[in-house]
C-alpha cells in the first residue's frame, strides 16, 4: 500500500551551496508552504529518512560524507538534487575543488532546476520523487517475494 507517499521524511544536506537553495528548502517548512500538510518531516537523521535532498555542488571533501549519509538510509530511498549547482556544479563547476553535480557520487532520481530553486519547484520535485519512491518500494517488495520463493537467491536481499 502506498503509505510511503503519505509520509515522506527527508534529510537535507548542504554541499557547497551558497545557502540560497537551503533557505528555499527551509521556506517549504514555514507557514506559507507548510509541507508538513503532506506528512513531510525534516528529520536530521539518515536512518529515519526516505528522501535525500541535496543542495550545492559536490566537492572533494564532502563526497565521502554524502556517500556515507546515502548508505545509512534504509531502502527504499530517493535522491533529489536541488538547484543548478547540485544538478551540474553550476557557476562553481570550473573551481579546482568541485567534482560537479550530485550525480558524480550518487544515483540522482530527480533534478530540480533554478538558482535558487523556488519553493514551488522544490515541492514539485518532491512530489515527482514520491512516485519514484513508490516504484522502488514495489520493486523491493517483488524482489523480496521472489527471494522467499527461491531461498538460495535470497542472500543479497537479507539484512546485514
Amino acid at each position: 500500500m502506498p503509505y510511503l507517499k503519505k509520509s515522506p521524511w527527508l534529510i537535507h544536506y548542504d554541499g557547497s551551496s551558497c545557502n540560497g537553495c537551503d533557505i528555499e528548502v527551509l521556506a517549504c517548512l514555514t507557514p506559507v508552504y507548510d509541507v508538513e500538510r503532506f506528512g513531510v518531516v525534516n528529520t536530521g537523521n539518515p536512518k529515519h529518512a526516505d528522501l535525500f535532498l541535496l543542495t550545492g555542488a559536490i566537492n572533494e571533501q564532502n563526497a565521502p560524507v554524502v556517500r556515507n549519509i546515502y548508505e545509512q538510509m534504509p531502502d527504499p530511498k530517493v535522491v533529489i538534487a536541488v538547484g543548478i549547482c547540485a544538478t551540474s556544479g553550476g557557476i562553481f563547476r570550473e573551481c579546482y575543488n568541485i567534482l560537479g553535480g550530485v550525480d558524480k557520487v550518487l544515483p540522482v532520481d530527480v533534478y530540480v532546476s533554478g538558482c535558487a530553486a523556488r519553493p514551488e519547484a522544490i515541492i514539485d520535485g518532491v512530489v515527482k520523487a514520491l512516485s519514484i519512491l513508490e516504484e522502488k518500494r514495489a520493486a523491493m517488495k517483488a524482489a523480496r517475494r521472489a527471494a522467499r520463493k527461491a531461498p538460495a537467491a535470497a542472500v543479497e536481499g537479507r539484512n546485514p
Binding site: 503519505k6 509520509s7 507548510d34 528529520t43 537523521n45 529515519h48
Partner: protein
C-alpha cells in the same frame, strides 16, 4: 476453567479493550497533537491520521540495525508498556504499575545503549537522568492515592467515595509537572526531540529504523493512553459520570502540555532534575504532610 465474578469479568474486559483500542486512541491523540502544534505555529498541519501513515510507512521500510539485540529490547519495551497499561486498566496495583513502567523504560534505554552510537548513548544517558528526575514524583503520586483513598488498587480507587483531587491537589500539580518528561515535550525533551536536526540528532531513537521505529511509536501510543487515564484517575469517584469528567480534564492537561511544548526551549539536565525534585519535595511532601495532619486531627 477459571470462575470469575461479574466485577472480575469487567476488569478482564477493560484490560482487553485497552490492548485493542489504546493504539487507536494514542495515535489519534498524536495526530491531534501535531495538528494543534501546527496551528500554534501558524501552519495548517498534517492530517489527523498522519501518525498512522507514518507507522505504516515505517513498516514498509527496510530495517537497518547495528545488532539484533537492540531490536529485541525494543520488542520488550513494547511488551512491557502494554503490560503496564493492562495492569492499570484491569484495576491492578498502582505500585506494580509504576515498577512495570520503570522496567519498560529501562528496556528502551538498554536498546539505545545496545546500538552503541554516540547519539543514542547520549540519548540513553539523558533518558536515565530524566527517570531520576520524574520517578520521585511518580512514586509520591501512588502514595498520595493511597493516603487519600486507602488503597493502591485502581479497581478500588475508581469506586472511592470522593475524587482524589480533593485531598491531593498539590500532588496532581506536581504530577502534571513531571508528565512533561513522560510525554517527551519541551522543556524536558532531553533524551530525544521531535525535530531531529539538533545537537543529539534524534537522541535515544537515532539508531532505530523501519519496523523498530514503528514499534517505538506504537509503544508511545500505549504509554500516552494510560498516562491520560492516570490523570483522569484523580477526578474519578463512585459516580460513573466522573469518568467523563476525568477524561475531559486529562485532555485539557494534554492541551496545556502542547502549549508548554511550543512556548519553552529545552532546558539543561541540571535544571530539569533540580526543578522536578523541588516540585516533588514541595508539592508532594507538603500534600502528604497535610493529609497526615488531617488524619491525626480526626
Amino acid at each position: 476453567m477459571i470462575l470469575l465474578n461479574a466485577s472480575e469479568w469487567t476488569r478482564v474486559a477493560t484490560g482487553i479493550l485497552y490492548v485493542l483500542l489504546a493504539p487507536l486512541f494514542g495515535g489519534l491523540l498524536a495526530g491531534v497533537d501535531r495538528r494543534i502544534t501546527a496551528r500554534m505555529q501558524g501552519r495548517k498541519g498534517p492530517p489527523i491520521l498522519q501518525p498512522f501513515y507514518d507507522v505504516l510507512k515505517l513498516l514498509e521500510k527496510r530495517r537497518v540495525s547495528v545488532n539484533k539485540l537492540q531490536n529485541f529490547f525494543i520488542v520488550l519495551f513494547l511488551v512491557f508498556l502494554v503490560f503496564t497499561g493492562t495492569l492499570f486498566f484491569s484495576g491492578g496495583d498502582l505500585l506494580l504499575f509504576i515498577f512495570a513502567f520503570t522496567l519498560a523504560a529501562i528496556f528502551f534505554i538498554s536498546a539505545a545503549y545496545a546500538a552503541n552510537s554516540p547519539y543514542s548513548s547520549i540519548g540513553a544517558e539523558r533518558e536515565l537522568l530524566q527517570m531520576m528526575a520524574y520517578e520521585p514524583m511518580v512514586l509520591l503520586t501512588a502514595v498520595g492515592f493511597y493516603m487519600a483513598n486507602g488503597s493502591f488498587k485502581v479497581s478500588d480507587l475508581v469506586v472511592a467515595p470522593r475524587p482524589a483531587i480533593l485531598l491531593i491537589p498539590m500532588i496532581f500539580l506536581g504530577f502534571c509537572y513531571v508528565l512533561t518528561f513522560k510525554f517527551r515535550k519541551s522543556p524536558f525533551d532531553l533524551s530525544t526531540s521531535h525535530h531531529g536536526h539538533q545537537e543529539i540528532v534524534k537522541g535515544i531513537t537515532t539508531e532505530f529504523s523501519g519496523a523498530s521505529l514503528a514499534w517505538i511509536e506504537i509503544a508511545h501510543w500505549y504509554e500516552s493512553t494510560f498516562l491520560i487515564a492516570l490523570i483522569a484517575l484523580f477526578f474519578v469517584w463512585s459516580n460513573p459520570l466522573s469518568i467523563a469528567l476525568g477524561i475531559g480534564v486529562a485532555l485539557l492537561v494534554y492541551f496545556l502540555e502542547i502549549l508548554v511544548d511550543n512556548t519553552f526551549a529545552r532546558v539543561k539536565w541540571q535544571l530539569a532534575i533540580r526543578s522536578a525534585w523541588i516540585v516533588a519535595g514541595v508539592f508532594g511532601f507538603l500534600n502528604l504532610l497535610a493529609l497526615t495532619l488531617m488524619r491525626g486531627g480526626k
